[in-house]
Amino acid sequence: MHRIIRNIRVMDPHDGFDAVADLAMADGRIVARGTLPADFMAEEVLDGSGLIACPGFIETSFQAHTPGHGRDGDLASELRAALVGGVTQVLLRPDTQPMADTPAVLQEQRVLADRLALAKVHLSGALTTQLQGAALTEMAGLAEAGAIAFSQAKEPVPSAALLRLALSYAADLGLPVLLHGEEPALAAHGVMHEGHLSIRLGLTGRPAAAEQIGVQRDIAIAALSGCPIHFPHLSTAAAVAEVTAARQRGEPVTCGVSIHHLLLTEQDVGFFNLHAKTLPPLRSAAERDALRHALATGVITAISSDHSPWGVDREGMTFTQAPFGIAAVEWLLPLALRLVDEGVVDMMTVLSLLSVGPAQALGLPAPSLAAGATADLCIFDPESYFTVEPARQWSRGRNLPYGQWELRGQVRYTLVEGRVVFRG
């Protein structure tokens, strides 16, 4: 299929290109950006006036409950939600049911994803069996089954000795490892940030120090083998400072942050609002501001929606019983544009944090809109304003604290390898 998009503002964080131009696509690739070849004939011509085209986004932390029981969403429902958010590539988290710790589970995920042909699905294998941190998984087998990374999802590895072995083993295979940095004993039983609000609500807190200690330890252990590691969802200034120091020493450590930790604080838990229960927990306003600062200085290189859908069954649970997680991948771009509107970072930086940064962390090809690049695109209207209606999500998840938020920047088209997979 040959396609032309005319008069569209192209913003390409890969090379900084930012101009109104025409885009030509053929056979899943960008053929031209700017002046089109005179003989290029298209079957479809779209008018891009007033819209912005950018590389499709890459979600580094995506829970689709596949395999799983389906009540909280499945690969089909959650990938559709991702496309609504302009996300063209996702990395599945291994904390599925059963967990993605054997090649057979990854093979099943691959078959399902290929059959759906929606967003591109990348697989991760669990770093340790059942994510329990007690035994290594068959990592070579997982890599053969398609894993592009190994991950601990939301579980720390309690034993420093085992983590050392797991990272050494993973380093042989040349794949990055995604870690949840947190000292488990210090965070035990915690359901929210340990701070003023946890004291008021009588809920057990997870102190910020637990994350700092966990991240510090994980970095020191990774340095023993040189294994590249990525923390997809840091929440504290102290932990980010540990990553900064490691990078200055030249160690292959990167970190990302969830959009929720950039927009919300512990106060959003309010009166036991379990839609604001996530892991790591929402922190203080000072931590949020420090994370925003780290975005602006380039220490944090990726923004994730940390997509974790839970269906209506969760609504009847108490705050302590309810599982962690927020499902908001559909609003990832509009939520991230809040950072532009609030003067935290400019639009090009936001687009980079949603595409280029995640690709680097996962070792994927750099997303781009230059000629020759894969035609994975998000096309959005920066001036379309709307109200978030959780009940009308594509995602099966109803757990998001953004109900009735006024946002801008609805996605109009999402293209994966030149195919229009979503029209809004």
Partner: protein
């Protein structure tokens, strides 16, 4: 349940859309006049207890369910008696937490009882926020009184405590109050602190070891002490808290004896406070741990009066919440 009934983050769920007190979930955020109304109404019920006919027709025809997911003697029986003295029909349901399959069973239990057209729930649950969850679910269709949720709140206990202080120690605006013991894990202490603050208590202190009384508690507007003698100086009212044995298992204390050595209330240590200082305890007491028998049975202790006051306060709460429902 429909999404319409579930709107998190819309302010204090104990008020209805018109700002009327519809449920009693926490003392936090109560208006002073509402608190005073409860206390003044309780005064009038206190006298009823001394009549030969102890009933009023206030809640005739209404059904109140005592839904207890945790053991309780005092709270459950005073709520039951309070409802009965108001002529309500009372249903007592004790759900042992081991047999409850968690979460769904709480809401399903409530839904089943609602199908029987009950008018109110008194709920005790081991998890913080349980009463909020039920209140949010029920909205205006039934009243909810929180009889203790995890470590969060126990508002009627706090109300009976401030009622006791007001009656026996004089105006709260002039009294220094100290709460002694495991404040961190205490729903009673949290509710006391909010109630005392709203009533204008000039100084609220919390006293205990740092493992049970962390500095972070100062966020609640209290003064934190880790030394009993310093903490009791100038104090008019001492609220002791029950010490749970679990605190030993979680290594927050080396032993019960060690706690008594540092923070146990003995006759000698009472001298550190103002002469005649009032001693309260929510019960059940651990004799020889947080409080010595000589103090618990002594002239300054008002522990049994608190129980009598609890009945009057719970009658007042049920009356006022039922009145807001428009049935009076």
């Amino acid at each position: 349940m429909s999404a319409a009934t579930f709107r998190f983050g819309e302010g204090n769920p104990q008020y209805d859309a018109q700002g009327r007190l519809r449920h009693l979930l926490s003392t936090e955020g109560l208006r002073e006049r509402e608190l005073l109304q409860i206390l003044d109404t309780a005064e009038s019920f206190l006298s009823i207890a001394h009549r030969s006919v102890k009933k009023t027709p206030t809640l005739r025809g209404r059904t109140i369910v005592n839904l207890f997911f945790e053991n309780s003697t005092r709270t459950r029986s005073t709520f039951e008696l309070a409802a009965k003295r108001l002529s309500a029909d009372v249903l007592n349901i004790a759900v042992s937490t081991s047999s409850a399959s968690k979460g769904e069973s709480l809401m399903d239990t409530v839904n089943n009882l609602m199908a029987m057209q009950v008018d109110g729930f008194v709920i005790r649950h081991p998890e913080a926020g349980a009463a909020h969850l039920v209140a949010r679910h029920l909205g205006d269709s039934a009243l909810v009184v929180n009889a203790g949720d995890g470590q969060h709140a126990h508002p009627t206990q706090a109300l009976l405590d401030v009622f006791t202080i007001r009656r026996l120690a004089g105006p709260i605006e002039d009294r220094v109050v100290a709460i002694v013991g495991d404040v961190l894990h205490s729903r009673v202490a949290r509710s006391q602190i909010h109630a005392l603050s709203i009533l204008g208590c000039p100084e609220i202190r919390v006293i205990g070891p740092r493992t049970l009384v962390p500095e972070a508690l100062s966020a609640l507007g209290v003064h934190v002490y880790h030394d009993l003698q310093a903490g009791l100086r100038g104090v008019d009212v001492i609220c002791a808290l029950r010490l749970q044995r679990e605190r030993m298992e979680s290594h927050r204390l080396p032993s019960l004896d060690e706690f008594h050595r540092r923070f146990g209330l003995t006759p000698e240590r009472l001298q550190w406070a103002e002469p005649g200082a009032l001693v309260l305890h929510p019960g059940p007491i651990n004799r020889g741990v947080e409080i010595a028998s000589e103090v618990a049975d002594g002239a300054q202790a008002v522990i049994l009066k608190q129980v009598a006051h609890g009945l009057a306060v719970r009658m007042a709460v049920l009356t006022i919440l039922a009145g807001a429902a428009g049935g009076e």
